[in-house]
Amino acid sequence: MSDLARETQGFQHQKPVKSASLWWMYVPALATVFIFMIFPFVKGAFITFTNWNGFSQTYQWVGVTQYKRLFTDPDTWLVVKNTLLYGIGSTFFQNMLGLLYALLLNQSLKMKALTRTIVYLPVIISPLIMGYIWYFIFSYDGGALNDVLGALGIGPVNALASPAANPWIIVMINTYQYAGIAMIVYLAGLQSIPKDYYEAAKMDGAGGLQPFFTITLPLLMPAVTINMVINIIGGLKLFDVIFALTAGGPGNSSQSMSTFMYDLYFKRQDAGYAAAQGVFMSVIILVISFSALVYFKRKETEMS
């Protein structure tokens, strides 16, 4: 590479070669994406105006009936509420935990690498399998949690049968699984802050938590933006863990938009309605993700 670079130095005074547009280089990639992502997505928008059941050859056009159903279906709002909880709730906890871990691991201590490895390990595990692992802990019969509660003299709880607890259990597992990513991004951010900033603050008499809010947090804002956006997108799309642990139940109490769509299509053969939920879900996720991106970008410039 260096040879080539050196060789090209000589060309610089010459007239630059007119660059070819090269657009055909992205044709294979773009074609794949078009056929398997964009085209089905557009076609899905058409299906929302039909009553297609997902397998028969015939269907009728029903206009906006599916969307009317969607807005009057109480399940829709339950599912939206859960999805927001998975998106925003997990994002909040992942970031709090990730930031605290990063602040700790940025100090001088032993076992730094080991702790980092252990916290990060769940990131590479299939979320489906992660759901099963937590089933061993939360299950009523012989679950690890009930053993602990029993030792404390508290009766066994059937956590997975509780419609109120289930969405929070899923938030907790998602937080556990992906807090490692937030930790790593924050740790990289912390390590890029020059040490003398803190020394200068100390000379100015700043004490306690003050340096954190005046130096650390403002300089960490780009990392905050990345983490927030990544975690919101991931949380809003949540599927595998829910599928493994509660299958959206009991009832629809822990259903996310992704698992709800799966149920509608495969279990209830309601493809037209499933597609309408899909379009609705994309709109919500796009709006929230972009708003979060814009909001945190603005905060970044405000604080710097």
Binding site: F11, I38, K112, T115, Y132, A144, L236
Partner: protein, 273 residues
């Protein structure tokens, strides 16, 4: 003073590690206990038995699932690397209107959940006769992670590949593909490693696509096999735990061996497709 602080921090780190390792510990003790052993999941087994692993391997037909998962993961990763790097080059180098539109399109696809296009996609794949084929899973995984791949490659090309290279190599039509793969591609090694790790982890662990397109036992991947096996053995979780450990072992071993690359790679591509 200094050492006291260090001790407290080390203690804190130890507590955090212990809490985070709990699920893995429970998984391990469960997998090592014999059927009908109802002792607490916290206690170690009185006698270590690897019988569960042998039985789970056979009954969940994990051998076949491993093979399927390896084929699908490897081919998809190769396609992502070859097509994604090729596509990223003009997008990173040519600031035309068309390229901006294409790039914006790819970014917005990264945000949309793949499940939203699943209903028509399933019908399309079924009409093409590709349900229960490796090809379907490979093509769909490739398409799903292509935007992220192009995004990572173009970022790298913008920041660390000198523009002059192109003039020297005369990327102007004839023999361009060869020029690209022999001159530019080798320089992309660091980001290729990242893309490779990300796509391997995501596709190895994929369940959202696999559950739709790979129901047949002959083609099913590890996650689909695991889901079925869990359903059949809800009253013998020891077997499920053993199967889970085997299914995740390759990624765990790779992670521990190449930790540095995994952490930087996965974190840069954390916008999961």
């Amino acid at each position: 003073m200094k050492t006291a602080r260090m001790r407290i921090f080390t203690l804190l780190a130890a507590v955090i590690s212990c809490i985070h390792i709990v699920p893995f510990y429970i998984l391990l003790t469960t997998s090592l206990k014999a059927k009908g052993d109802y002792s607490s999941k916290w206690s170690l087994p009185s006698a270590f038995s690897f019988q569960n692993f042998r039985e789970a391997w056979e009954r969940a037909s994990l051998g076949q699932s491993f093979l399927n998962t390896i084929i699908i993961t490897a081919v998809s990763a190769a396609l992502l690397i070859f097509m994604g790097s090729l596509a990223a080059y003009p997008l990173a180098r040519r600031n035309t209107k068309l390229n901006k539109i294409v790039f914006g399109l790819l970014i917005s696809i990264m945000i949309i959940p793949p499940l939203t296009s699943m209903v028509p996609l399933y019908k399309m794949v079924a009409d093409a006769g590709l349900i229960n084929t490796h090809a379907a899973a490979i093509l769909i995984n490739t398409a799903a992670y292509m935007p992220l791949t192009v995004f990572l490659y173009s970022g790298f090309i913008r920041s660390s590949i000198p523009k002059e290279l192109e003039e020297a190599a005369r990327m102007d039509g004839a023999g361009l593909i060869r020029t690209f793969y022999t001159i530019v591609f080798p320089l992309l090694k660091p980001i290729t490693a990242t893309v490779c790790i990300i796509s391997c982890v995501f596709i190895w662990n994929d369940y959202q696509f696999a559950i739709f397109f790979l129901q047949d036992q002959k083609v099913q991947t590890l996650t689909v096999a695991m889901a079925g096996f869990f359903g059949e053995n809800a009253n013998n979780l020891h077997l499920v735990a053993a199967a889970a450990i085997m299914a995740m072992l390759p990624m765990v071993v790779l992670f521990l061996a190449l930790q540095k690359y995994f952490i930087s790679g996965l974190s840069s591509g954390a916008v999961k497709g």
